[in-house]
Amino acid sequence: TSVQTDWRVNVLIIVLTEMRDKLRKWREDNHRNSEQIVDVGEELINEHASKLGDDIWIIYEQVMIAALDCSRDDLAWTCLQELKRQFPGSQRVKRLAGMRLEALEKYEDASKQYDSILQDDPTNTAARKRKISILKAQGKSAEAIRELNEYLEQFVGDQEAWHELSELYINEHDYGKAAFCLEELMMTNPHNHLYCEQYAEVKYTQGGLENLELSRKYFAQALKLNNRNMRALFGLYMSASHIAASPKVNATVKKANVKYATWATNQINRAYQVSYARCLL
Protein backbone atom coordinates (compact mmCIF):
# COMPACT_ATOMS: atom_id res chain seq x y z
CA THR A 1 0.00 0.00 0.00
CA SER A 2 2.88 2.40 0.60
CA VAL A 3 3.88 1.98 -3.04
CA GLN A 4 0.33 2.80 -4.07
CA THR A 5 0.15 6.00 -2.01
CA ASP A 6 3.56 7.05 -3.29
CA TRP A 7 2.30 6.72 -6.83
CA ARG A 8 -0.77 8.78 -6.08
CA VAL A 9 1.28 11.51 -4.41
CA ASN A 10 3.54 11.67 -7.45
CA VAL A 11 0.61 12.08 -9.79
CA LEU A 12 -0.80 14.78 -7.54
CA ILE A 13 2.47 16.68 -7.60
CA ILE A 14 2.65 16.43 -11.38
CA VAL A 15 -0.90 17.72 -11.74
CA LEU A 16 -0.18 20.55 -9.31
CA THR A 17 2.92 21.70 -11.11
CA GLU A 18 1.09 21.54 -14.43
CA MET A 19 -1.72 23.71 -13.16
CA ARG A 20 0.68 26.15 -11.60
CA ASP A 21 2.73 26.39 -14.78
CA LYS A 22 -0.38 26.97 -16.85
CA LEU A 23 -1.39 29.83 -14.58
CA ARG A 24 2.06 31.29 -14.76
CA LYS A 25 2.13 31.12 -18.56
CA TRP A 26 -1.23 32.86 -18.75
CA ARG A 27 -0.02 35.49 -16.32
CA GLU A 28 3.16 36.17 -18.25
CA ASP A 29 1.43 36.28 -21.64
CA ASN A 30 -1.29 38.50 -20.23
CA HIS A 31 -4.05 36.20 -21.46
CA ARG A 32 -7.57 37.18 -20.56
CA ASN A 33 -9.07 33.68 -20.57
CA SER A 34 -10.83 34.40 -17.31
CA GLU A 35 -13.08 31.34 -17.21
CA GLN A 36 -10.18 28.97 -17.58
CA ILE A 37 -8.18 30.86 -14.97
CA VAL A 38 -11.11 30.69 -12.55
CA ASP A 39 -11.49 26.94 -13.11
CA VAL A 40 -7.84 26.08 -12.65
CA GLY A 41 -7.21 28.69 -9.99
CA GLU A 42 -10.22 27.88 -7.85
CA GLU A 43 -9.24 24.25 -7.66
CA LEU A 44 -5.65 25.13 -6.83
CA ILE A 45 -6.69 27.51 -4.07
CA ASN A 46 -9.33 25.35 -2.48
CA GLU A 47 -7.60 22.01 -2.57
CA HIS A 48 -3.89 22.65 -2.62
CA ALA A 49 -3.26 26.02 -1.03
CA SER A 50 -0.69 24.69 1.42
CA LYS A 51 1.50 23.16 -1.24
CA LEU A 52 1.94 26.30 -3.28
CA GLY A 53 4.22 28.20 -0.97
CA ASP A 54 4.74 31.85 -1.75
CA ASP A 55 3.29 31.50 -5.23
CA ILE A 56 -0.14 31.53 -3.69
CA TRP A 57 -0.28 35.32 -3.34
CA ILE A 58 0.25 36.11 -6.97
CA ILE A 59 -2.18 33.36 -7.87
CA TYR A 60 -4.73 34.95 -5.56
CA GLU A 61 -4.34 38.20 -7.43
CA GLN A 62 -4.61 36.54 -10.83
CA VAL A 63 -7.65 34.49 -9.86
CA MET A 64 -9.33 37.47 -8.26
CA ILE A 65 -9.13 39.55 -11.40
CA ALA A 66 -10.41 36.62 -13.48
CA ALA A 67 -13.23 36.07 -10.98
CA LEU A 68 -14.29 39.71 -11.36
CA ASP A 69 -14.43 39.14 -15.09
CA CYS A 70 -16.74 36.16 -14.60
CA SER A 71 -18.93 37.90 -11.99
CA ARG A 72 -17.78 35.47 -9.32
CA ASP A 73 -17.87 37.91 -6.44
CA ASP A 74 -17.70 35.12 -3.83
CA LEU A 75 -14.38 33.89 -5.14
CA ALA A 76 -13.08 37.43 -5.59
CA TRP A 77 -14.02 38.28 -2.02
CA THR A 78 -12.18 35.23 -0.65
CA CYS A 79 -9.04 36.08 -2.58
CA LEU A 80 -9.22 39.70 -1.50
CA GLN A 81 -9.56 38.76 2.17
CA GLU A 82 -6.54 36.48 2.02
CA LEU A 83 -4.46 39.16 0.35
CA LYS A 84 -5.61 41.83 2.81
CA ARG A 85 -4.64 39.61 5.70
CA GLN A 86 -1.18 38.93 4.33
CA PHE A 87 -0.40 42.41 3.03
CA PRO A 88 -2.24 44.96 5.15
CA GLY A 89 -1.89 48.50 3.92
CA SER A 90 -0.56 47.48 0.54
CA GLN A 91 -1.42 49.75 -2.36
CA ARG A 92 -1.52 46.86 -4.76
CA VAL A 93 -4.21 45.22 -2.63
CA LYS A 94 -6.09 48.49 -2.35
CA ARG A 95 -6.19 48.68 -6.11
CA LEU A 96 -7.68 45.17 -6.22
CA ALA A 97 -10.31 46.22 -3.72
CA GLY A 98 -11.12 49.17 -5.97
CA MET A 99 -11.44 46.86 -8.97
CA ARG A 100 -13.92 44.74 -7.07
CA LEU A 101 -16.02 47.81 -6.32
CA GLU A 102 -15.87 48.68 -10.01
CA ALA A 103 -17.10 45.20 -10.90
CA LEU A 104 -20.04 45.74 -8.54
CA GLU A 105 -20.66 49.06 -10.31
CA LYS A 106 -20.07 51.03 -7.11
CA TYR A 107 -18.13 53.63 -9.02
CA GLU A 108 -18.21 56.34 -6.34
CA ASP A 109 -16.65 54.06 -3.73
CA ALA A 110 -14.13 52.75 -6.20
CA SER A 111 -13.14 56.28 -7.12
CA LYS A 112 -12.64 57.15 -3.45
CA GLN A 113 -10.48 54.10 -3.01
CA TYR A 114 -8.23 55.13 -5.87
CA ASP A 115 -8.08 58.70 -4.58
CA SER A 116 -6.77 57.42 -1.28
CA ILE A 117 -4.02 55.49 -3.07
CA LEU A 118 -3.07 58.61 -5.00
CA GLN A 119 -2.89 60.65 -1.83
CA ASP A 120 -0.23 58.36 -0.47
CA ASP A 121 1.64 57.99 -3.71
CA PRO A 122 0.97 60.52 -6.46
CA THR A 123 3.14 58.58 -8.91
CA ASN A 124 0.94 55.50 -8.79
CA THR A 125 -0.06 54.97 -12.38
CA ALA A 126 -2.36 52.00 -11.81
CA ALA A 127 -4.81 53.97 -9.69
CA ARG A 128 -4.98 56.80 -12.21
CA LYS A 129 -5.66 54.39 -15.03
CA ARG A 130 -8.41 52.68 -13.08
CA LYS A 131 -10.11 56.02 -12.57
CA ILE A 132 -10.06 56.57 -16.30
CA SER A 133 -11.51 53.10 -16.83
CA ILE A 134 -14.37 54.05 -14.50
CA LEU A 135 -15.17 56.99 -16.73
CA LYS A 136 -15.05 54.73 -19.74
CA ALA A 137 -17.34 52.20 -18.08
CA GLN A 138 -19.82 54.93 -17.29
CA GLY A 139 -19.84 55.92 -20.94
CA LYS A 140 -18.32 59.35 -20.32
CA SER A 141 -15.92 59.12 -23.24
CA ALA A 142 -15.23 62.84 -23.56
CA GLU A 143 -14.16 63.02 -19.91
CA ALA A 144 -12.20 59.80 -20.23
CA ILE A 145 -10.34 61.24 -23.20
CA ARG A 146 -9.58 64.43 -21.32
CA GLU A 147 -8.33 62.60 -18.22
CA LEU A 148 -6.26 60.23 -20.35
CA ASN A 149 -4.67 63.17 -22.15
CA GLU A 150 -3.72 64.72 -18.83
CA TYR A 151 -2.33 61.40 -17.66
CA LEU A 152 -0.26 61.07 -20.80
CA GLU A 153 1.14 64.54 -20.37
CA GLN A 154 2.81 63.32 -17.20
CA PHE A 155 3.58 59.78 -18.25
CA VAL A 156 4.48 60.07 -21.91
CA GLY A 157 6.03 56.63 -21.97
CA ASP A 158 2.97 54.59 -21.09
CA GLN A 159 2.28 52.59 -24.23
CA GLU A 160 -0.83 50.91 -22.90
CA ALA A 161 -2.30 54.36 -22.35
CA TRP A 162 -1.44 55.55 -25.85
CA HIS A 163 -3.18 52.53 -27.30
CA GLU A 164 -6.24 53.07 -25.16
CA LEU A 165 -6.37 56.70 -26.21
CA SER A 166 -6.18 55.76 -29.87
CA GLU A 167 -9.13 53.40 -29.39
CA LEU A 168 -11.14 56.12 -27.66
CA TYR A 169 -10.41 58.56 -30.46
CA ILE A 170 -11.38 56.02 -33.11
CA ASN A 171 -14.69 55.55 -31.33
CA GLU A 172 -15.22 59.29 -31.47
CA HIS A 173 -14.24 59.30 -35.15
CA ASP A 174 -11.36 61.67 -34.42
CA TYR A 175 -8.98 59.90 -36.77
CA GLY A 176 -6.33 62.58 -36.86
CA LYS A 177 -5.68 62.31 -33.14
CA ALA A 178 -5.93 58.53 -33.23
CA ALA A 179 -3.21 58.55 -35.88
CA PHE A 180 -1.01 60.66 -33.57
CA CYS A 181 -1.35 58.09 -30.79
CA LEU A 182 -0.55 55.25 -33.16
CA GLU A 183 2.53 57.11 -34.36
CA GLU A 184 3.81 57.14 -30.79
CA LEU A 185 3.30 53.40 -30.65
CA MET A 186 5.00 52.83 -33.98
CA MET A 187 8.04 54.73 -32.82
CA THR A 188 8.40 52.79 -29.61
CA ASN A 189 7.68 49.46 -31.29
CA PRO A 190 9.04 49.73 -34.81
CA HIS A 191 8.88 46.00 -35.40
CA ASN A 192 5.25 45.50 -34.45
CA HIS A 193 3.34 44.93 -37.67
CA LEU A 194 -0.05 45.34 -35.97
CA TYR A 195 0.54 48.97 -35.09
CA CYS A 196 1.58 49.72 -38.68
CA GLU A 197 -1.54 48.02 -39.94
CA GLN A 198 -3.82 49.86 -37.54
CA TYR A 199 -2.22 53.16 -38.49
CA ALA A 200 -2.70 52.39 -42.15
CA GLU A 201 -6.37 51.58 -41.54
CA VAL A 202 -6.89 54.89 -39.73
CA LYS A 203 -5.24 56.77 -42.57
CA TYR A 204 -7.37 54.90 -45.09
CA THR A 205 -10.50 55.82 -43.16
CA GLN A 206 -9.49 59.44 -43.07
CA GLY A 207 -9.47 59.43 -46.85
CA GLY A 208 -8.01 61.91 -49.27
CA LEU A 209 -5.20 61.28 -51.69
CA GLU A 210 -2.32 62.00 -49.34
CA ASN A 211 -3.74 59.80 -46.59
CA LEU A 212 -4.41 56.98 -49.04
CA GLU A 213 -0.79 57.08 -50.16
CA LEU A 214 0.37 56.98 -46.55
CA SER A 215 -1.97 54.10 -45.82
CA ARG A 216 -0.65 52.17 -48.80
CA LYS A 217 2.90 52.68 -47.57
CA TYR A 218 2.10 51.54 -44.05
CA PHE A 219 0.16 48.50 -45.24
CA ALA A 220 3.29 47.65 -47.21
CA GLN A 221 5.42 48.14 -44.10
CA ALA A 222 3.15 45.87 -42.08
CA LEU A 223 3.50 43.24 -44.80
CA LYS A 224 7.24 43.65 -44.82
CA LEU A 225 7.34 43.06 -41.08
CA ASN A 226 5.01 40.09 -41.31
CA ASN A 227 4.52 38.49 -44.69
CA ARG A 228 1.44 36.63 -43.50
CA ASN A 229 -0.70 39.58 -42.48
CA MET A 230 -3.71 39.04 -44.74
CA ARG A 231 -5.47 42.15 -43.56
CA ALA A 232 -2.54 44.30 -44.55
CA LEU A 233 -2.44 42.55 -47.92
CA PHE A 234 -6.07 43.35 -48.57
CA GLY A 235 -5.48 46.88 -47.32
CA LEU A 236 -2.60 47.30 -49.71
CA TYR A 237 -4.78 46.14 -52.57
CA MET A 238 -7.65 48.45 -51.66
CA SER A 239 -5.57 51.56 -51.09
CA ALA A 240 -3.61 51.02 -54.30
CA SER A 241 -6.77 50.48 -56.36
CA HIS A 242 -8.44 53.50 -54.79
CA ILE A 243 -5.54 55.73 -55.72
CA ALA A 244 -5.44 54.28 -59.24
CA ALA A 245 -9.15 54.90 -59.64
CA SER A 246 -8.98 58.48 -58.43
CA PRO A 247 -9.38 61.12 -61.15
CA LYS A 248 -6.82 63.46 -59.61
CA VAL A 249 -3.71 61.36 -60.20
CA ASN A 250 -1.42 61.61 -63.18
CA ALA A 251 -0.61 58.74 -65.47
CA THR A 252 2.67 57.61 -63.85
CA VAL A 253 1.18 57.42 -60.40
CA LYS A 254 -1.83 55.58 -61.78
CA LYS A 255 0.39 53.08 -63.54
CA ALA A 256 2.48 52.48 -60.44
CA ASN A 257 -0.58 51.89 -58.28
CA VAL A 258 -2.12 49.53 -60.81
CA LYS A 259 1.12 47.57 -60.64
CA TYR A 260 0.94 47.45 -56.84
CA ALA A 261 -2.68 46.39 -56.90
CA THR A 262 -1.93 43.61 -59.38
CA TRP A 263 0.94 42.35 -57.28
CA ALA A 264 -1.33 42.32 -54.25
CA THR A 265 -3.98 40.38 -56.17
CA ASN A 266 -1.41 37.76 -57.14
CA GLN A 267 -0.30 37.35 -53.56
CA ILE A 268 -3.90 37.03 -52.39
CA ASN A 269 -4.48 34.30 -54.96
CA ARG A 270 -1.39 32.51 -53.77
CA ALA A 271 -2.63 32.70 -50.19
CA TYR A 272 -5.95 31.16 -51.18
CA GLN A 273 -4.12 28.37 -52.94
CA VAL A 274 -2.10 27.71 -49.82
CA SER A 275 -5.30 27.49 -47.80
CA TYR A 276 -6.90 25.09 -50.32
CA ALA A 277 -3.80 22.93 -50.18
CA ARG A 278 -4.06 22.81 -46.41
CA CYS A 279 -7.73 21.85 -46.58
CA LEU A 280 -6.93 18.99 -48.90
CA LEU A 281 -4.21 17.65 -46.61
Partner: protein
Protein backbone atom coordinates in the same frame (compact mmCIF):
# COMPACT_ATOMS: atom_id res chain seq x y z
CA UNK B 1 67.54 33.81 -16.93
CA UNK B 2 65.54 30.77 -16.03
CA UNK B 3 63.09 31.29 -13.21
CA UNK B 4 63.48 28.77 -10.46
CA UNK B 5 60.22 26.89 -10.17
CA UNK B 6 59.06 26.81 -6.62
CA UNK B 7 57.11 23.81 -5.53
CA UNK B 8 54.51 24.74 -2.96
CA UNK B 9 53.30 22.42 -0.27
CA UNK B 10 49.95 21.02 -1.42
CA UNK B 11 48.64 21.73 2.07
CA UNK B 12 48.72 25.37 1.08
CA UNK B 13 46.24 24.64 -1.62
CA UNK B 14 43.97 22.75 0.72
CA UNK B 15 44.12 24.97 3.74
CA UNK B 16 44.73 28.41 2.29
CA UNK B 17 43.62 28.84 -1.27
CA UNK B 18 40.28 27.07 -0.99
CA UNK B 19 39.28 28.52 2.39
CA UNK B 20 39.96 32.03 1.14
CA UNK B 21 37.72 31.40 -1.85
CA UNK B 22 34.94 30.10 0.37
CA UNK B 23 35.29 32.94 2.83
CA UNK B 24 35.18 35.57 0.12
CA UNK B 25 32.18 33.98 -1.50
CA UNK B 26 30.20 33.59 1.69
CA UNK B 27 31.00 37.11 2.80
CA UNK B 28 29.77 38.34 -0.55
CA UNK B 29 26.50 36.48 -0.21
CA UNK B 30 26.00 37.81 3.31
CA UNK B 31 26.72 41.33 2.07
CA UNK B 32 24.08 40.91 -0.60
CA UNK B 33 21.38 39.96 1.88
CA UNK B 34 22.43 42.64 4.36
CA UNK B 35 22.23 45.26 1.65
CA UNK B 36 18.71 44.12 0.84
CA UNK B 37 17.72 44.51 4.48
CA UNK B 38 19.27 47.92 4.80
CA UNK B 39 17.89 49.24 1.54
CA UNK B 40 15.98 52.45 1.90
CA UNK B 41 13.10 53.24 -0.42
CA UNK B 42 13.93 55.90 -2.90
CA UNK B 43 10.84 57.98 -3.40
CA UNK B 44 10.73 59.65 -6.76
CA UNK B 45 8.68 62.75 -7.28
CA UNK B 46 6.11 62.95 -10.01
CA UNK B 47 8.20 65.54 -11.80
CA UNK B 48 11.27 63.30 -11.86
CA UNK B 49 9.31 60.39 -13.26
CA UNK B 50 7.67 62.60 -15.82
CA UNK B 51 10.95 64.19 -16.90
CA UNK B 52 12.73 60.90 -17.31
CA UNK B 53 9.92 59.67 -19.55
CA UNK B 54 10.04 62.84 -21.61
CA UNK B 55 13.74 62.34 -22.17
CA UNK B 56 13.12 58.78 -23.27
CA UNK B 57 10.44 59.94 -25.69
CA UNK B 58 12.75 62.48 -27.22
CA UNK B 59 15.44 59.85 -27.62
CA UNK B 60 12.97 57.49 -29.30
CA UNK B 61 11.95 60.30 -31.59
CA UNK B 62 15.54 60.76 -32.65
CA UNK B 63 16.19 57.07 -33.14
CA UNK B 64 12.90 55.85 -34.60
CA UNK B 65 11.47 59.01 -36.08
CA UNK B 66 12.17 57.58 -39.48
CA UNK B 67 9.25 55.20 -39.14
CA UNK B 68 6.62 57.92 -38.96
CA UNK B 69 5.70 60.34 -41.73
CA UNK B 70 7.84 63.42 -42.18
CA UNK B 71 5.06 65.77 -41.18
CA UNK B 72 4.53 63.98 -37.88
CA UNK B 73 8.22 63.97 -37.11
CA UNK B 74 8.51 67.69 -37.78
CA UNK B 75 5.47 68.37 -35.63
CA UNK B 76 7.06 66.62 -32.67
CA UNK B 77 10.46 68.17 -33.25
CA UNK B 78 8.81 71.56 -33.31
CA UNK B 79 7.01 70.80 -30.05
CA UNK B 80 10.29 70.04 -28.35
CA UNK B 81 12.65 72.51 -29.90
CA UNK B 82 10.67 75.52 -30.95
CA UNK B 83 12.38 78.81 -30.20
CA UNK B 84 9.47 80.40 -28.41
CA UNK B 85 7.63 77.69 -26.58
CA UNK B 86 9.43 74.42 -27.19
CA UNK B 87 9.43 72.08 -24.25
CA UNK B 88 13.18 71.82 -23.96
CA UNK B 89 13.68 75.51 -24.44
CA UNK B 90 11.21 76.60 -21.89
CA UNK B 91 11.13 74.10 -19.10
CA UNK B 92 13.47 75.00 -16.31
CA UNK B 93 13.57 72.74 -13.31
CA UNK B 94 14.63 73.85 -9.87
CA UNK B 95 18.04 72.38 -9.45
CA UNK B 96 19.02 71.32 -5.95
CA UNK B 97 22.43 69.69 -6.02
CA UNK B 98 22.21 66.87 -3.50
CA UNK B 99 25.38 67.42 -1.54
CA UNK B 100 25.86 65.11 1.42
CA UNK B 101 25.62 68.00 3.85
CA UNK B 102 22.23 69.28 2.90
CA UNK B 103 20.55 66.03 2.03
CA UNK B 104 20.37 63.75 5.07
CA UNK B 105 19.12 60.73 3.18
CA UNK B 106 22.13 60.87 0.87
CA UNK B 107 24.36 60.89 3.94
CA UNK B 108 22.79 57.78 5.41
CA UNK B 109 22.92 56.07 2.02
CA UNK B 110 26.62 56.79 1.75
CA UNK B 111 27.22 55.54 5.25
CA UNK B 112 25.28 52.36 4.60
CA UNK B 113 27.22 51.83 1.40
CA UNK B 114 30.49 52.23 3.23
CA UNK B 115 29.50 49.98 6.10
CA UNK B 116 28.30 47.13 3.94
CA UNK B 117 31.12 47.20 1.42
CA UNK B 118 34.31 48.90 2.35
CA UNK B 119 34.43 48.02 6.03
CA UNK B 120 34.04 44.25 5.70
CA UNK B 121 36.57 44.23 2.90
CA UNK B 122 39.17 45.98 5.05
CA UNK B 123 38.43 43.89 8.12
CA UNK B 124 38.51 40.56 6.38
CA UNK B 125 41.51 41.54 4.29
CA UNK B 126 43.39 42.39 7.42
CA UNK B 127 42.30 39.22 9.22
CA UNK B 128 43.36 37.06 6.31
CA UNK B 129 46.66 38.85 6.15
CA UNK B 130 47.23 38.18 9.83
CA UNK B 131 46.06 34.55 9.76
CA UNK B 132 47.62 33.39 6.57
CA UNK B 133 50.86 35.26 6.76
CA UNK B 134 54.42 34.22 6.27
CA UNK B 135 54.10 32.02 3.22
CA UNK B 136 53.58 32.22 -0.48
CA UNK B 137 50.11 31.37 -1.69
CA UNK B 138 50.07 31.40 -5.42
CA UNK B 139 51.77 32.67 -8.55
CA UNK B 140 50.20 35.07 -10.95
CA UNK B 141 50.66 33.88 -14.55
CA UNK B 142 52.27 37.08 -15.82
CA UNK B 143 55.57 38.65 -14.81
CA UNK B 144 55.49 41.62 -12.49
CA UNK B 145 58.12 44.23 -11.73
CA UNK B 146 59.85 44.57 -8.41
CA UNK B 147 57.68 47.55 -7.57
CA UNK B 148 54.82 45.21 -6.80
CA UNK B 149 56.73 43.25 -4.24
CA UNK B 150 55.91 45.21 -1.11
CA UNK B 151 52.27 45.39 -2.16
CA UNK B 152 51.70 41.77 -3.03
CA UNK B 153 54.16 40.01 -0.79
CA UNK B 154 53.19 41.38 2.59
CA UNK B 155 54.79 39.35 5.32
CA UNK B 156 57.25 37.51 3.12
CA UNK B 157 60.69 38.95 3.71
CA UNK B 158 62.55 37.51 0.73
CA UNK B 159 64.43 39.94 -1.46
CA UNK B 160 65.17 37.48 -4.22
CA UNK B 161 61.68 36.12 -4.64
CA UNK B 162 60.03 36.79 -7.96
CA UNK B 163 57.28 39.36 -7.74
CA UNK B 164 54.89 36.96 -9.39
CA UNK B 165 54.63 34.92 -6.22
CA UNK B 166 52.01 36.56 -4.09
CA UNK B 167 50.74 36.28 -0.55
CA UNK B 168 47.32 35.31 0.64
CA UNK B 169 46.12 38.88 0.99
CA UNK B 170 46.53 39.43 -2.73
CA UNK B 171 44.76 36.15 -3.39
CA UNK B 172 41.90 37.48 -1.29
CA UNK B 173 41.63 40.68 -3.29
CA UNK B 174 41.86 38.69 -6.51
CA UNK B 175 38.91 36.69 -5.32
CA UNK B 176 36.84 39.72 -4.39
CA UNK B 177 36.91 40.95 -7.95
CA UNK B 178 36.94 37.59 -9.64
CA UNK B 179 33.87 36.21 -7.94
CA UNK B 180 31.76 38.99 -9.41
CA UNK B 181 30.55 36.82 -12.27
CA UNK B 182 29.78 34.01 -9.84
CA UNK B 183 27.58 36.39 -7.90
CA UNK B 184 25.69 37.35 -11.06
CA UNK B 185 25.12 33.69 -11.77
CA UNK B 186 23.84 32.85 -8.32
CA UNK B 187 22.28 36.01 -7.00
CA UNK B 188 21.04 37.40 -10.28
CA UNK B 189 21.96 40.73 -11.81
CA UNK B 190 22.11 43.84 -9.71
CA UNK B 191 23.18 42.08 -6.55
CA UNK B 192 24.50 43.78 -3.46
CA UNK B 193 27.69 41.78 -3.41
CA UNK B 194 29.05 43.27 -6.56
CA UNK B 195 32.00 45.12 -5.14
CA UNK B 196 33.48 46.63 -8.26
CA UNK B 197 30.14 47.84 -9.51
CA UNK B 198 29.60 49.66 -6.22
CA UNK B 199 33.02 51.23 -6.38
CA UNK B 200 32.34 52.32 -9.94
CA UNK B 201 29.07 53.83 -8.84
CA UNK B 202 30.77 55.69 -6.03
CA UNK B 203 33.32 57.09 -8.42
CA UNK B 204 30.88 58.10 -11.11
CA UNK B 205 28.30 59.15 -8.54
CA UNK B 206 30.29 62.30 -8.01
CA UNK B 207 30.29 62.93 -11.74
CA UNK B 208 26.61 62.12 -12.33
CA UNK B 209 25.30 64.13 -9.40
CA UNK B 210 21.88 62.53 -9.79
CA UNK B 211 18.97 63.91 -11.84
CA UNK B 212 19.55 67.30 -10.31
CA UNK B 213 20.86 68.25 -13.70
CA UNK B 214 17.67 67.73 -15.58
CA UNK B 215 18.30 71.08 -17.14
CA UNK B 216 21.57 69.87 -18.59
CA UNK B 217 19.88 66.71 -19.82
CA UNK B 218 17.21 68.82 -21.49
CA UNK B 219 19.82 71.00 -23.14
CA UNK B 220 21.69 67.94 -24.41
CA UNK B 221 18.49 66.49 -25.85
CA UNK B 222 17.63 69.79 -27.47
CA UNK B 223 20.96 69.87 -29.25
CA UNK B 224 20.74 66.25 -30.32
CA UNK B 225 17.23 66.72 -31.63
CA UNK B 226 18.18 69.85 -33.58
CA UNK B 227 20.76 67.81 -35.40
CA UNK B 228 18.38 65.01 -36.29
CA UNK B 229 16.96 64.90 -39.76
CA UNK B 230 14.10 62.81 -41.00
CA UNK B 231 15.04 59.99 -43.35
CA UNK B 232 11.80 58.23 -44.03
CA UNK B 233 12.29 54.50 -43.87
CA UNK B 234 9.24 53.89 -46.01
CA UNK B 235 10.43 55.86 -49.03
CA UNK B 236 10.77 52.87 -51.31
CA UNK B 237 8.86 50.35 -49.29
CA UNK B 238 6.71 49.14 -52.16
CA UNK B 239 9.68 48.34 -54.37
CA UNK B 240 11.42 46.59 -51.49
CA UNK B 241 8.32 44.60 -50.63
CA UNK B 242 7.43 43.59 -54.15
CA UNK B 243 10.92 42.60 -55.17
CA UNK B 244 10.02 39.06 -54.15
CA UNK B 245 7.03 36.89 -53.48
CA UNK B 246 5.52 36.82 -50.00
CA UNK B 247 6.65 34.04 -47.74
CA UNK B 248 3.37 32.33 -46.89
CA UNK B 249 4.86 29.35 -45.09
CA UNK B 250 2.84 28.17 -42.18
CA UNK B 251 0.15 30.68 -42.90
CA UNK B 252 -2.94 28.82 -41.80
CA UNK B 253 -1.40 26.54 -39.23
CA UNK B 254 -3.05 26.22 -35.85
CA UNK B 255 -0.01 27.37 -33.94
CA UNK B 256 0.60 31.06 -34.22
CA UNK B 257 4.29 31.77 -34.44
CA UNK B 258 5.18 34.53 -32.06
CA UNK B 259 6.72 37.06 -34.35
CA UNK B 260 8.98 39.83 -33.21
CA UNK B 261 6.80 42.33 -31.46
Amino acid sequence: MAEPELLLDSNIRLWVVLPIVFITFLVGVIRHYVSILLQSDKKLTLEQVSDSQVLIRSRILRENGKYIPKQSFLMRKFYFNNQEDGFFKNTKRKVVPPSPMTDPSMLTDMMKGNVTNVLPMILIGGWINWTFSGFVTTKVPFPLTLRFKPMLQQGIELLSLDASWVSSASWYFLNVFGLRSMYSLILGQDNGADQSRIMQEQMSGAAMAMPADTNKAFKAEWEALELTDHQWALENIEEELMSRELDLDGMFSKELPTGIF
